[in-house]
């Protein structure tokens, strides 16, 4: 390989057919006697612009498109050299760091010698070592192209905002599961807002047996094993539900507050009493109607109950998970849009309450297709207030444009699976921790289950990994009509 050109932080390297370099590979450019080296990543492999190549190709097809037949007597065997030159490649590389005195800096100002530099491939383990991507809490994500393991540290997810995105069936949920199971291995508390019931079998192996994590997986299905009694609710949590999920106007909310306080004073906080109180309220009939419609929405969700024995305390699961690590799966499958919002409002409200009072240390929140249940104001909350309280969110989506731009800008780690749509890639490339060119070039070529890891987890050295397989029962598969036909 030969250094050809440098423009900004792009280095162009001339490669030859016998040198196997692919997109995503890292190269080390060492200057002779310079005691410096550049770490660059190949973001595109093109044909080198060899003079006369067009004539060469045209010459082989002069007979109206039909290949002209013939023989070549080439005693000096020049033809292999011609092929060698024709197949020369131009590697477009992005400068990722400069090594000087064994320490890395993100600078790209040093220009190595074109004639004296040596260029060699940099293996992922060496790069990880150089970048000090190691720690006491390793998470093996999978294998790199050269069959090396890519290990990140769990602490790189701690206190961070993460995004897992890619088109359908590329392995996003699989990676989420891998991260979750590794986090609980280190005692973390994880909450999953599971839209399609994909995580409910985290505790089962593919053949239906209990796995090592079985006791740490708590599946809460609203209106089934996850119900709440009004007594356990704080007024502000219920008001959040009424205002944000059920869009209760301010005047009606004030009236509700009065009713609630009155019932609480009488220690009569039940659904039945609440209904009665609204009915007997002497407020404007429009307000009463508004309160009634919300009351029936709460009632119909079957998420609320008066039966204390039926109620399931979220705190209990959280405390249990907090002690030894665990995943609380909020199964939102078969839950209507309104009910989903009610449940999510409740869960987030409860989390904030427990975290504010330091009853909980921190939680890792995994939110699948969050735009379907997360209210507008939560997006900003998640990257600011909630993060400081100890809610470290990971968004999982196949529609990157549903996540707000400021989330991308603030994201610490992005796990990017294949996208072919340029519009999608454009959205993802708004992330502050990566350049658009890398995202667009590498993500389009990712095979299923291959993920481009960007951000703090890999110390800003984008790496492609084939996500490790998990022996976990797959759920959330698409129902098919022709399943027995083939």
């Amino acid at each position: 390989m030969k250094l050809y050109k440098k423009e900004g932080n792009i280095i162009q390297i001339l490669g030859f057919p016998n040198e196997t370099v692919e997109k995503g590979d890292y190269l080390l450019i060492e200057g002779k006697n310079a005691r410096k080296a550049l770490i660059v990543q190949v973001i595109d492999v093109q044909f080198a612009n060899i003079p006369g190549i067009l004539e060469e190709l045209l010459r082989s097809l002069p007979d109206g498109g039909e290949l002209i037949q013939g023989e070549d007597f080439d005693p000096l065997e020049i033809a292999p050299h011609i092929t060698y030159i024709q197949d020369a490649r131009l590697l477009r590389c992005k400068i990722r760091a400069t090594i000087e005195n064994e320490s890395l800096s993100p600078s790209s100002s040093w220009l190595p010698s074109r004639s004296q530099s040596t260029i060699k491939k940099l293996s992922i383990p060496t790069l990880l070592e150089l970048a000090k991507v190691n720690g006491k809490l390793p998470i093996v994500l999978g294998g790199t192209k050269d069959s090396m393991l890519l290990t990140i540290d769990a602490s790189s997810l701690d206190g961070r905002l993460n995004i897992i995105t890619g088109k359908k069936e590329t392995g996003k949920s699989h990676l989420s599961k891998l991260l979750m199971l590794n986090l609980i291995r280190y005692g973390a508390t994880v909450i999953v807002l599971d839209l399609n019931g994909e995580y409910i079998s985290l505790g089962m192996t593919s053949d239906g047996k209990r796995n090592a994590y079985h006791n740490k997986i708590h599946v809460l299905t609203p209106s089934q094993n996850f119900k709440v009694v009004l007594k356990q609710l704080h007024l502000h949590v219920l008001l959040s539900i009424l205002i944000h999920a059920l869009h209760l106007p301010g005047t009606s909310a004030r009236e509700f507050r009065t009713i609630w306080r009155s019932l609480k004073e009488k220690d009569n906080l039940t659904l039945r009493e609440l209904g009665e109180a609204i009915r007997n309220s002497r407020c404007n009939h429009h307000v009463r109607d508004a309160l009634f419609s919300r009351y029936y929405a709460l009632l119909n969700s079957r998420f609320f109950t008066d039966n204390v024995a039926e109620a399931m305390l979220l705190e209990e699961s959280l405390f249990k998970a907090g002690k030894e690590g665990g995943v609380i799966v909020i199964n939102l499958r078969n839950t209507s849009s309104i009910d989903r919002q009610i449940v999510v409002e409740y869960v987030l409200g409860k989390l904030v309450e427990l975290l504010t009072s330091w009853k909980l240390k921190a939680v890792f929140l995994y939110a699948e297709e969050a735009h379907l249940y997360l209210r507008e104001t939560y997006w900003d909350d998640i990257v600011t207030r909630m993060r400081h309280l100890g809610i470290f969110t990971t968004f999982i989506t196949n529609q990157p444009n549903t996540i707000r731009e400021n989330i991308y800008r603030q994201a610490d780690n992005i796990f990017l699976f294949n996208f072919t749509n340029e519009h999608d890639l454009e959205t993802v490339s708004r992330a502050a921790r990566v350049d658009a060119e890398t995202v667009k070039s590498i993500a389009t070529d990712l095979s299923p289950r291959h993920c481009l890891v960007l951000g703090k987890a890999v110390k800003d050295f984008p790496m492609v990994v084939k996500v490790k397989a998990l022996d976990i029962r797959t759920m959330g598969e698409t129902r098919l009509f022709f399943i027995n036909t083939n």
Partner: protein
Amino acid sequence: MQTMQIGSQPIRLKPRTEETVVAAVDTSTIKIGETSKGMLIAVRGATVWKQKKHYRYLRVGPFIFHVTEENKKQVYNALQRAYFTSPHEHNHNGSPSFLQMPTRIANLLERWQQTMLSTTVTNGLILFDGSLTSGIADTSTKRMKQILDAARKRGNIVLAFSKMTSLRFNGYLITDVLLGYKPPYLFEIAGLKPRPPIVLLGDVYVARLANENYAFRLDIDKEVSIERRMEAVEKLLGNELFSQSYPETLRLAHILCTFTANEVIAMQHFITRKYDLKIINRPDMHRLLFGPFGKGESRS
């Protein structure tokens, strides 16, 4: 050549479609670099023939030579001996000059390929690139005659197409003045008397064989009767494709032997790797002295 005359009427032609082999030869040479002692040149030749509506080719080379002032004679004579079994008559101009070596070596290869075609093709049309003029430095009359004789003995007819000509009539190029007729046709150019030792081994025509507004100088073996000459051109019309009035076989031969820039780089790569010869990049003195006003040595 003051007595040159052009036929008053065009010779009209009708394509004859009976199956006839059309074969053509061309060679190419290129300087691929300079060394401290001399220059590196490459030559390549291509033979193309059309048979049963399909084109086939045989390409020989590239052959690479390191030519120096010291070895030029030895190289040239060695090639003469290798290409031609009969000893070559003494060249009027002695051994080629250093700068002529690329074209002279390519010419040797071309003559050898023409000889091979003349002695292998039967009842075909053999197309040469250039004229049938001999007696000049790189084309001996004897060798050219031998090639034409050999071709005739096997029932072949040699047709030589010149892409460019310097022959003028009333001050105009002969290929420019006779375009006012419906093609295909020939115009005979008579009365050409070259100065010795130059000999014309063919009769000269202006040929416009297709609708495009291009005409070429066409030399046809003198020893062939007029009827057979016309029959040969008509067979060419019936068996060959014409692109801009130029025969496709000859065009392909030219395309296949020409070196591309890519091949030059490959040959430089080969030489550096295999023979460890250091190619010198000499400064372009025109550019060096005259800057943007220097047109470059390669174009001078």
